[in-house]
Symmetry: C2
Subunit: 110 residues, 2 copies
DNA sequence: GATTTACGTAACCTAAAAGTTACGCATTAT
DNA sequence: ATAATGCGTAACTTTTAGGTTACGTAAATC
């Protein structure tokens, strides 16, 4: 795990990390609280957290010796933006389907 | 590259694969046509295509000995759905910000 | 019908991701 | 002051991802 990853998609590639995000979405959690819900060791979780943080999916709220994870919209937006890039393609597809239907499929008349 | 990958996020983890999707979004392309635009070998591209296909991002249109790649919305929708899962979280965040502002921040009066 | 083209696939190698244990270091509790 | 807790990190091992070359095969070209 090269924890310096900054790529949002790379960060989401791991199932465990996606589960972590879903857990944190339900409620703010400390590193240990997260680790308790996984089979992997705490240090492993710790690394995942760092990756998610660097990719902009979570923020850390330090409270004494505990570190709470909360969602950060940055990473999600990045992915959303990329998905939106293809919006144009789908609407074009849709329009050409419309054209096809308009010119080729007989409309039932009353 | 275990080409049996069916995971959408896993498929998007690779930069090259994301580029392939963007290329294909511009226009339908054969495997070789795609490979020409990359530094990697054709067999490598071939594997990437298979991964993208299995993950539901592209469909193959066979035309004689050529195989054309076209986008498939399935994979994109899967990712979109996952992103939408967190929608609830952000709106809750927004509402609590609203509440905070309403109760704590003095409104400038005229 | 021989050759070239457009692929897929198997076998293999390398590098990076993901995991572990074993520490160390603050912070909190006793 | 001492012990216990909540982490991060370094060093190491295993697994997987991504790449290659070397084939084979079916369709197009000559």
């Amino acid at each position: 795990m090269s924890t310096e990853t900054t790529d949002a998609f790379q960060a989401l590639a791991d199932r465990g990390r996606r589960e972590i995000l879903m857990m944190v979405a339900k409620e703010k959690r400390s590193i240990n609280a997260i680790a308790e819900n996984f089979d992997i060791s705490r240090p492993a979780v710790s690394k995942h957290i760092k990756i998610l943080q660097n990719a902009g999916f979570i923020n850390i709220e330090e409270k004494g010796r505990e570190r709470y994870c909360v969602l950060n919209q940055t990473g999600f937006s990045e992915v959303q933006q990329w998905i939106n890039t293809f919006e144009e393609y789908w609407t074009a597809q849709f329009r050409s389907l419309e054209n096809y239907l308009a010119s080729n499929v007989p409309v039932s008349k009353k």
